[in-house]
Amino acid sequence: MSNHISADTPSNYLTHKTGLLSWLTTTDHKRIGLLYLYTITIFFLTAAVLGLLMRIEKFAPGETIMTAQTYNAMFTIHGIIMIFVIVIPGLSAVFGNFFLPIMIGAKDVAFPRLNLFTWYIYITGASIALFSQFAYGHSPDAGWTFYVPYSAQSHSNMVLALMGAFVLGFASILTGLNFLVTMHRMRAPGMTWFKMPLFPWSLYATAWVQLLATPIIGITLLMVVAERVLKIGFFDPTLGGDPVLYQHLFWIYSHPAVYVMILPAMGVVTEIFPTFAQKPVFGYGAIAISSLAIALIGYFVWGHHMFVAGIGYNSRVFFSLLTFLVAIPSAIKVFNWLGTLYGGSIDLKPPLLYALGFISLFIIGGFSGLTQGALAANVHITDTDFVVAHFHYIVFGGMGFGFFAAIHYWYPKIWGKMYNFRWAYIGFGFIYVGFHTLYFPMFILGLMGMPRRYFDYLPRFQPLQEVSTIGAFILITGIIIMISNLVYHYYKGAVAPANPWHGVTLEWKIPSPPPHENFDEVPVITHPPYYFEKPFVDEGM
């Protein structure tokens, strides 16, 4: 069966105009989403390789393949790329851009040209951050958290890294702005707020955080630049400043930022579960409101990154309490997802497998977060590998698996092709097993006393470090298998139908790949968002 476009094939957004320039000047939200996808994939593989090199170094104590200074530079740039270039923008910029307008029945976002400009801002910021590795001085080595005084004093290309993160912040702000206006002004007739599907709801909550929290990190990074270049002194005690003030300002953004990372991933799996159970989402209203609750409460927990920084007792109690509180809306979502699956017509295809993987990893990551939220426990595990395990479970296991789930779910819609399921299951297996092998030992190492960001360690930590490194190789193998499956079938895959998973949200009602303007006529919404008129039950095998 030939796969090339014949004269009868209707034109779609991919064939609408061709050539590299048509992509670089596009204002089509679908193409912009793919521009983000391709660049994020490249940066992800770069940062993953950096992580792999770090793991190889930690296979044995002492200097293995790099010096201590290089190790510090590695974890810094690994963090900067993963956080600011991949995980914060990732789901919003790729799947939000591609699917938000379609899922609310619109032809594009509110400001399409701004959308393209935002991608260029993103590329500029990422390039500036990467350039810090190749410019004249040393690579930055203060960690992605840029704590003063070291970030203000280290002889390195710190200003480049700071400015890269600053520019990337603008891309985040503008994406959030575009999505907010889009959802307020461009929903299809009949689509009231509570008829909007839950992925858009998650993007809505995320967009508010992107809009209001990111400017704070922007000004804070500028202040660190001012420390270095102008000796302004806000964070320098010898001039009257306060280094803990930096930590407050940094985490006032960076904590809400983690909700920017996880909320869209929760939104993705909230789309996948009803489709693969062929029944409506359990507790639609609770999920929508809990997204807003997470975003709101998330603004008030930043101090839990500073329990041992010298803040007062009352502050610590307050932040610990709020940290426990913010777990409640997340738990509500988990129960609602399980309630969605319960009694449904379950079809265990790759998207559902990744969504289930997401739940398991998110739960482990979330519980370990609660452990750290307890003041007494925090003193023992802060700045150990326990924290490293926690945030990799919640960020990689959460947002990362959410991303993998999304790409497997929406792949047939985006490219009109289908990947191979067996290949996808094998990839998932390697990724999932590798993930636990890599990160679970870090919980134990942390409890045993292994500090984080340390290049060397005592011999008693070696066995678990070795296990962890082996896990890294298994994980990378799985990622390569997963990506090759998706790339190969882009060229050689069977043509996919418009609705291979029998989904009921608007994107499944248009052809695969979607036409240039999404809809032939503006849809009029009369049903609730998860209306399964005739749930699909697969009789045969």
Binding site: K107, F111, I216, I219, A226
Partner: protein, 203 residues
């Protein structure tokens, strides 16, 4: 009032919503600096008092008046375009830009004087001052500096509006660009209204 369609995707209300959201981000950007100011002022109330005495309240007041008048002229320019008077709108925006330039010239002299006295971040004179005054002057330069940057950006936006008025792209029916630029200008003015008493009047 029916919202005018600008292009396939946006109408006037959509454009204005986008601008208001952007202005909120600018408020939060300066908000970080106001937060640092609040912390430092609480810690060094007396030194802030002394630092403010060094500032030229006359130029500060003059600049405040300049910006307030410029906000008035830019608002008048909107009324002008709404009443189908693009040339009057053009003239009023020209005055606004002119006032922005006066503000920047005043700032140039103010800063120049400080720099002449070696009263700038990183200098040995600065280092010899008490801690609270170092914080005060650091905040003074960063906050007025960031604000001046926004004055320049606002002025450039207004100049673009002037070109659009001349070419006829802005009319009584389609003046969103002018409206948004005016909103931005009002924000620039508003930030100064906060900066002025916090820096100049804490004597």
């Amino acid at each position: 009032m029916e919202s005018t369609k600008l292009n396939e995707y946006t109408d006037r209300d959509t454009g204005k919503l986008g601008m208001w959201l952007f202005l909120f981000t600018e408020l939060f950007l300066f908000g970080g600096l106001f937060l640092v100011y609040a912390v430092m002022r609480t810690k060094y109330a007396h030194d802030f008092h002394l630092g403010a005495l060094e500032l030229n309240a006359f130029i500060g007041t003059a600049n405040t008046v300049v910006l307030l008048v410029s906000s008035m002229t830019v608002a008048m320019s909107l009324t002008a375009i709404q009443t189908n008077n693009p040339s009057k709108a053009f003239g009023l925006i020209l005055i606004t830009v002119f006032l922005a330039i006066i503000f920047l010239i005043n700032k140039y002299f103010e800063w120049g004087h400080k720099i002449e006295l070696k009263l700038y971040p990183g200098s040995d004179v600065m280092r010899s001052l008490p801690h609270g005054e170092i914080m005060f002057f650091g905040l003074y330069f960063i906050m007025t500096g960031l604000h001046a940057l926004h004055v320049i950006v606002g002025a450039v936006l207004l100049i673009i509006v002037m070109f659009n008025l001349k070419s006829g792209s802005i009319t009584q029916e389609h003046y969103l660009l002018q409206e948004n630029a005016a909103l931005y200008w009002h924000l620039v003015d508003l930030i100064w209204i906060f900066l002025f008493p916090l820096l100049y009047l804490v004597t």
